[in-house]
């Protein structure tokens, strides 16, 4: 009993500082948000009343903008999770296969990740509105002269391009670490058994880096659901609401429309539940496929 409590105490010493800030800045606001989600507080009035689950019902049944934002976010999530992981893995394999300039390429591809997302969004706004049209004028690449940000058909691609440019580097580093952890002996054994490079990759490398895949899928999935800065910086959700993602819909509800804090909190709780469910399923599935060396 004594030993147990000492263990507990030393554990608290270690996690204490982090736990303190986590509780203060994450846990308490989260619980507060969940509490407000069942009220009709507008952020200003001193008194508010409890409305039960009315906010949730309204969000899911009577708010087409929210549903559209949800669908748009889902579309973004699917495209991003696939592209970001495929591209990151390709880059990682490409860099790992080089013997020279490894560090150079690694740095180059990782660099965009060090720029804050909102700044890269503004940089790319300039590229999309000024550079590309000029480029189209000077060269014959006329297809570049599009309304990249203003036209809802293209703005989705603009958003994806910028997010990929910014996000692929980070995943690439994780995959690189995974690739470097694949034992050389296994690959050699496969080669001796007569496997071609594709077969080696499919049956040795991929299973051996499955833990990296789990992490990367988790990170991309989680990040894509919560996307905000890129869209905010590039299109502001516009034109109209054609590129409005779910976080932006929540932001608009809370801070610029009717200041329905309670309703906006309910929407964020819905987003939280969606992310929780999806990532739980994802971790279950990918964990099952993991193998140890």
């Amino acid at each position: 009993m004594l030993k147990k409590s000492r263990n507990l105490r030393s554990m608290l010493y270690f996690v204490g500082p982090a736990l303190l800030f986590y509780t203060l800045f994450m846990l308490i606001p989260t619980i507060g948000g969940m509490f407000y989600s069942i009220t009709d507080w507008n952020g200003l009035n001193r008194n508010y009343s409890f409305v039960g689950f009315a906010n949730f019902v309204e969000a899911l049944t009577d708010d087409p903008d929210f549903i559209n934002a949800l669908l748009f976010t889902l579309k973004y999530v699917v495209v991003m999770v696939i592209l970001q992981n495929v591209l990151a893995l390709l880059l990682a394999v490409f860099i790992e296969s080089r013997t020279r300039f490894k560090g150079f390429f690694r740095t180059i591809f990782f660099m965009p990740n060090m720029i804050s997302l909102i700044i890269s969004a503004f940089m790319w706004t300039f590229v999309f509105t000024q550079v590309l049209p000029q480029l189209a004028e000077k060269t014959a690449l006329l297809f570049l002269d599009q309304s990249w940000i203003g036209d809802p058909k293209f703005s989705f691609f603009s958003i994806v391009i910028v997010s990929l440019w910014n996000g692929v580097g980070y995943m690439m580093i994780i995959y690189l670490a995974g690739l470097q952890g694949v034992p050389q002996s296994l690959k050699e054994a496969a080669v001796i058994d007569g496997a071609n490079p594709v077969q080696t990759f499919r049956h040795i490398t991929l299973p051996m880096i499955s833990h990296a895949i789990t992490i990367c899928f988790f990170l991309t999935l989680n990040g894509a659901f919560k996307v905000f800065e890129v869209v905010f910086g590039l299109t502001g959700g516009g034109p109209g609401r054609s590129t409005q993602v779910i976080t932006m819909n929540i932001y608009e509800e809370a801070f610029s429309n009717n200041f329905r804090y309670g309703y906006a909190s309910a929407k964020s709780v819905i987003l939280f539940i969606i992310i929780l469910l999806v990532t739980l399923i994802q971790i279950r599935v990918t964990k099952r496929n993991e193998v140890e060396a």
Binding site: K4, L44, G150, G238, N258
Partner: protein
């Protein structure tokens, strides 16, 4: 199992502890703020001000110094002013947090048309009707700061606007601002014949297309549909009554600059300043940016024609940033003194001039800018209306709606339906 339970329990305890700390510190804050060391005749008062106009910090500092000197001389009160000037983007956010945590500044700034109704309803505004400054307010400005027949704020910024036009292009082609929609159409044709783009379009930020709404709704309310706002607030009206606003919107959209949805306000101002287009549906609050882009530009303000009825071609007149007093202020006397000092007979005129604001009171006698004079001519002729009190949610909606309308994703009826819904939602939330 037991262990994990303990961990959870201790985590819970920490949470509770922390929560306790939080509320404690809040309370102690409140008491220190109320510090008013009164000793004999010499009184020290701390006055907290919250004004969301950081670009005018110098002017306010100077003016507050004058106020402090005056208060010391006349009432022997030592006033310490804590002036806080957050960026206007998040000022209202910070202010709301303060108010919600019972830490209201003694004097704070809000937007007259957009924010007075909700703040008034929540009980955050002191009734200023009996203050001496009220008598000095111009009749055209007074309604903007009046609610329920009570004056609740002293206006700082006020604007009269319609659209901006490039006076050089107009005089070169011997054109004058049109008074009806058909005249506007002829003018557009003339401009196009001379290879000049009639309108600057900058629709990237949704508040710019939004400007059509106050312009057209305000003018239509003034010329007949008087009770539109009241009926909308009672869920009895519809924007279908305002459908004719699309006449002018279509005309502007069809004869504007390219790639409108990629041009932001500042880019638009630069393009307009350099003569890329002859007109811009925009207010003179962009004057500074426009002049920075081209110091030689000569531009004016004119009312936007909506129909072939020249009486509907009116200037929009409204107050925006205004100062109010918190009813919970511990030093209300001093706060009221300051509010009156803002419209002081001697000092106020110079203050407003240094801020480049329009005159709002009879005591203001400085010379204003040409575009202000342009608009004032219309205002004096009675060709103006008070900026209609449209809920912010509806204004946001119309901005987005008109963006979508411009990119042909929504029809006119879709926009109207979305606006009606936005206003109904607003009513539901603010019943």
């Amino acid at each position: 199992m037991k262990k994990s339970w303990k961990v959870t329990a201790s985590a819970m305890m920490t949470v509770l502890l922390l929560a306790g700390c939080g509320s404690n510190s809040g309370a102690s804050n409140g008491s220190t703020n109320a510090e008013t060391g009164g000793k004999g005749s010499e009184k020290t008062v701390t006055l907290k001000m919250f004004i969301g106009l950081p670009r005018f910090k110098d002017q306010f500092d100077q003016y507050i110094d004058k106020f402090v000197a005056k208060e010391k001389a006349e009432k022997n009160i030592d006033v310490k002013v804590q002036l806080e000037m957050p960026n206007s983007d998040n000022a209202s956010q910070i202010l709301k947090t303060r108010l919600a945590s019972n830490d209201a500044p003694d004097i704070f700034s809000i937007h007259a048309i957009n924010e007075i109704p909700s703040f008034y309803k929540a009980g955050y505004l002191e009734d200023l009707t009996s203050q001496p400054f009220v008598g000095k307010l111009l009749d055209s400005v007074k309604p903007s700061v009046t609610i329920d027949n009570k004056v609740v704020a002293v206006p700082l910024e006020s604007v009269s606007w319609g659209y901006l036009y490039n006076k050089k292009i107009f005089s070169d082609l011997k054109l004058t601002p049109p008074t009806t929609l058909s005249e506007m159409k002829t003018l557009v044709e003339t401009l196009k014949k001379n290879n000049i783009t009639p309108f600057e379009l900058a629709y990237k930020e949704s508040w710019i297309p939004q400007l059509f709404l106050p312009l057209s709704v305000g003018a239509q309310i003034q010329t007949g549909n008087k009770d539109f706002i009241e009926r909308m607030n009672k869920n009895e009206g519809s924007f279908a009554e305002m459908k004719s606003m699309f006449d002018i919107i279509d005309l502007v959209n069809a004869n504007g600059t390219n790639k409108a949805l990629e041009v932001g306000g500042d880019d638009g101002a630069a393009a307009f300043a350099n003569g890329k287009a002859a007109m811009w549906v925009q207010g003179p609050w962009y004057a500074e940016t426009i002049q920075k882009a081209n110091p030689d530009i000569d531009f004016g303000v004119a009312p936007l024609p909506l129909s072939d009825n020249p009486d509907q071609t009116l200037i929009n007149l409204g107050a925006s940033t205004s100062l109010v007093v918190s009813p919970t202020s511990k030093n209300k006397d001093v706060a009221l003194d300051f509010i009156n000092f803002v419209l002081d007979d001697k000092e106020s005129s110079g203050f407003y001039e240094s801020l480049k604001f329009n005159p709002v009171a009879t005591i203001h006698n400085y010379k204003s800018y040409p575009w202000v004079d342009d608009a004032t001519v219309y205002v004096k002729e009675g060709k103006a209306y008070r900026d209609p009190s449209i809920p912010q949610a509806v204004k946001d909606e119309v901005g987005k709606g008109l963006q979508s309308y411009f990119s042909k994703q929504l029809s006119q009826d879709d926009v109207i339906k979305a606006l009606d819904k936005a206003w109904k939602d607003y009513n539901k939330v603010n019943k």
